[in-house]
């Protein structure tokens, strides 16, 4: 089947070129097939990283809710109306020694103090009625 050009074209083939061709081709082919195998191996088991795994999503949602509620809680200011009077009285009674009269009155606006003084005024009739209602006769007899 070998057919060399039958008309002279001037080209020359190096000696023994065709005899050694197969061995060189074998090396090239082996290298090529190894490269293909390597590429296939790399693409066969691709490591898929899910950016939004359901677990991560639920954790993220829970974290968002926790942060939101804690921020909201700290932002809420407690109104004086929401505190039970008994609690205030209890606190004042326990800590009365730590406050001076000036400190306490300084916390109230002037208007409130005037109103407090006015409400503190009572007449003799009311006083008499109060004493009769709360009179402990045993104490009076002892004294």
């Amino acid at each position: 089947m070998k057919t060399k050009p039958t008309y002279k074209h001037g080209f020359k083939m190096p000696e023994n070129y065709l005899e050694t061709f197969e061995s060189r081709l074998q090396l090239s082919l082996k290298s090529e097939l190894e490269n293909i195998a390597k590429t296939k191996k790399q693409t066969k088991d691709p490591k898929v990283i899910l950016l939004l795994k359901p677990l991560y999503i639920s954790i993220a949602v829970a974290a968002c809710i926790a942060v939101y509620s804690s921020v909201n809680n700290t932002q809420n200011t407690l109104s004086i109306d929401e505190i039970a009077i008994t609690n205030i009285e209890e606190y004042m009674f326990e800590n009365v020694g730590t406050f001076s009269l000036d400190q306490i009155t300084g916390e109230f606006p002037q208007q409130n103090i005037v109103e407090l003084e006015e409400s503190a005024l009572y007449d003799d009739q009311q006083l008499q009625k109060y004493l009769l209602d709360h009179l402990n006769t045993n104490i009076l007899i002892q004294q």
Binding site: F11, Y17, F21, E22, S28, I36
Partner: protein, 184 residues
């Protein structure tokens, strides 16, 4: 001679592929070498292209349907590989493939694997002026002495079309040689 159908069958079977492949290489390496050499001119580049051709054959043998002759298929692959090689090299050197071909022919003067005289060098220059298809037809008919019927099968072109191409190619080459005859 090994039956072509059997060879193709053996090439497609994993157990016989290796042996059949090297039988194929042994059968066609010579003819494909000259086909490639005629296109790229340089021996080392021809060697690279010939190896790439046979590697491509190995990788694609499963896709060969046997609708054409094996040599026709091999010839097409080697021709495409040779043309691709020229185009890639031309792109790398930032010149046109025609300029590269002209350069390759100029290099033949100092090429140890070119022993042609001044007429043969001028003939190569004349061939390089032809369009690719006419170059192919001329080389295969003039140097390799293929019949038009063989060429028709290999190049998938009608015999009439090939005769016309060859006739035009010869005319152009004669004109080129006549114009440049004083230079050799």
């Amino acid at each position: 001679m090994l039956d072509e159908k059997k060879l193709i069958h053996n090439l497609k079977q994993p157990s016989t592929r290796e042996a059949a492949y090297y039988t194929l290489v042994g059968l066609y390496k010579d003819r494909l070498y000259w086909n490639i050499r005629g296109i790229v001119k340089d021996h080392d580049e021809t060697d690279d292209v010939l190896q790439n051709t046979f590697i491509k054959v190995y990788k694609n043998i499963q896709n060969f349907k046997g609708e054409s002759k094996l040599y026709t298929w091999l010839y097409s692959i080697s021709t495409n590989e040779a043309i691709n090689s020229i185009n890639k090299k031309a792109k790398r050197l930032q010149i046109s493939s025609q300029e590269l071909q002209k350069k390759a022919i100029d290099n033949l003067k100092t090429d140890v694997y070119f022993q042609g005289d001044s007429f043969e060098l001028l003939l190569q220059k004349a061939i390089a002026t032809l369009p690719n298809k006419q170059q192919q037809v001329f080389r295969m008919k003039y140097f390799e002495k293929h019949t038009f019927e063989e060429l028709s099968e290999i190049l998938d072109t009608s015999v009439g079309g090939l005769k016309s191409s060859y006739h035009i190619a010869v005319k152009k080459i004669k004109q080129f040689l006549k114009t440049n005859e004083t230079f050799y």
